[in-house]
């Protein structure tokens, strides 16, 4: 199974990949730097993806918009999504859970790496 990592920041992606690899996570990591790329990867790989790490703020299609679409598409609606955001306001969190009541995790940057790993591990297959 694969992890889909969606983040427009190359630095963020590099950091996450390094952390995941260092902690012994061996799953293949698919990377998308925007919502469009993420849609293509989802369209072709949704059966192989075990968890989606999704950045909120991205140009054009934001993470919250992508997630709103995913929950309406039967093939994607059950995919666990962990939403990452640097804006940790209560309002944003409320909206995230309103959009996806089954949200697998809501991470506020800068997050503790242990926190991220604890959220991801239950979904690794």
């Amino acid at each position: 199974m694969k992890i889909l990592l969606v983040d427009d920041s190359l630095l963020d992606r590099k950091l996450l990949i390094r952390v995941l690899m260092k902690s012994g996570i061996m799953q293949e990591i698919l990377q998308a730097e925007n919502g469009e790329q993420a849609m293509e990867l989802l369209a072709n790989n949704y059966k192989d993806i075990c968890v989606v790490l999704l950045d909120w703020q991205m140009p054009k299609i934001t993470g919250i918009e992508l997630m709103a679409g995913m929950v309406k598409i039967p093939e994607l609606s059950a995919l666990p999504v962990i939403l990452c955001t640097a804006s940790g306001s209560d309002e944003n969190k409320r909206v995230a859970y309103q959009v996806n009541p089954n949200l697998a995790g809501y991470l506020v940057k800068p997050y503790k790496l242990e926190e991220l790993l604890a959220m991801i591990k239950p979904f690794l297959r």
């Binding site: 630095l11 952390v19 293509e40 950045d55 679409g69 909206v95 800068p110 790496l113």
Partner: protein, 222 residues
């Protein structure tokens, strides 16, 4: 379709659903600059790591820790108590960035970075970066040594910012202090939070860097 058989999803249909849901829930209104600021903090962390790796092949013993903290203001300047960073005499140096030379002169800063080090560990840091030995009991040498380090970091940081698509910015000369800055430190106006980044060597915190960034970052993207 038989159960388990893969079919590719229609991306155009996905896009339509996303647009509909976004409009229905007004999701475009939840966009702000926090993400850009976090990325700039990561870029600063990357700049520090790159300098040490390129100059000495030294790597820090763990990923630098990033933390968002509230700023304590003292007559409109940021209060800095370096003794909170380490439990020993601490030297710190400050560099500001502004959009123009005029902005620097008028203290219209976009970013302020502050580098903190234990005074007694500074000679070792400089040795790692292949600088000559300095006397840690000589205040002038200590302030100059820390300033040299913040200059290196700020220069690399400018390059990292350019890689992220930001316009070129002007850099101020450094100012160095020991333990505290009596009048505080001038920072970008109206900012209430800073990023604190800690770096460890052999499991011990040895370097602390803080970044204060103007909130309206999108304005200075190329």
């Amino acid at each position: 379709m038989p159960e388990g058989k893969f079919h590719r999803l229609d991306v155009r249909r996905m896009r339509e659903i996303i647009q509909q849901e976004s409009a229905k829930l007004n999701l475009r209104s939840f966009v702000n600059d926090s993400e850009n600021i976090f990325t700039l903090a990561l870029a600063l962390s990357a700049a520090v790591k790159k300098i040490f790796y390129e100059k000495s092949e030294m790597t820090f013993s763990s990923e630098p820790s990033l933390e968002k903290k509230p700023i304590v203001l003292y007559f409109n300047e940021m209060r800095v108590d370096a003794m909170e960073k380490f439990n020993s005499t601490t030297v710190f140096s400050v560099i500001d960035f502004a959009a123009t030379e005029e902005g620097l002169e008028n203290h219209k800063y976009l970013i302020t970075i502050i580098v903190y080090l234990e005074k007694d560990f500074l000679p070792e840091f400089l040795r790692l970066l292949q600088y000559p030995y300095i006397d840690s009991d000589d205040e002038i040498e200590v302030k100059d040594g820390c300033g040299t380090l913040v200059n290196l970091i700020a220069g690399q940081y400018k390059r990292e910012m350019a890689n992220l698509g930001y316009k070129d910015v002007m850099m101020s000369p450094f100012e160095s202090y020991i333990n505290t800055a009596m009048d505080g430190v001038l920072i970008p106006k109206g900012v209430t939070e800073k990023y604190a980044i800690n770096f460890e060597i052999d499991g011990v915190k040895r370097l602390a860097v803080e970044m204060v960034t103007q909130a309206k970052l999108s304005k200075w993207k190329v």
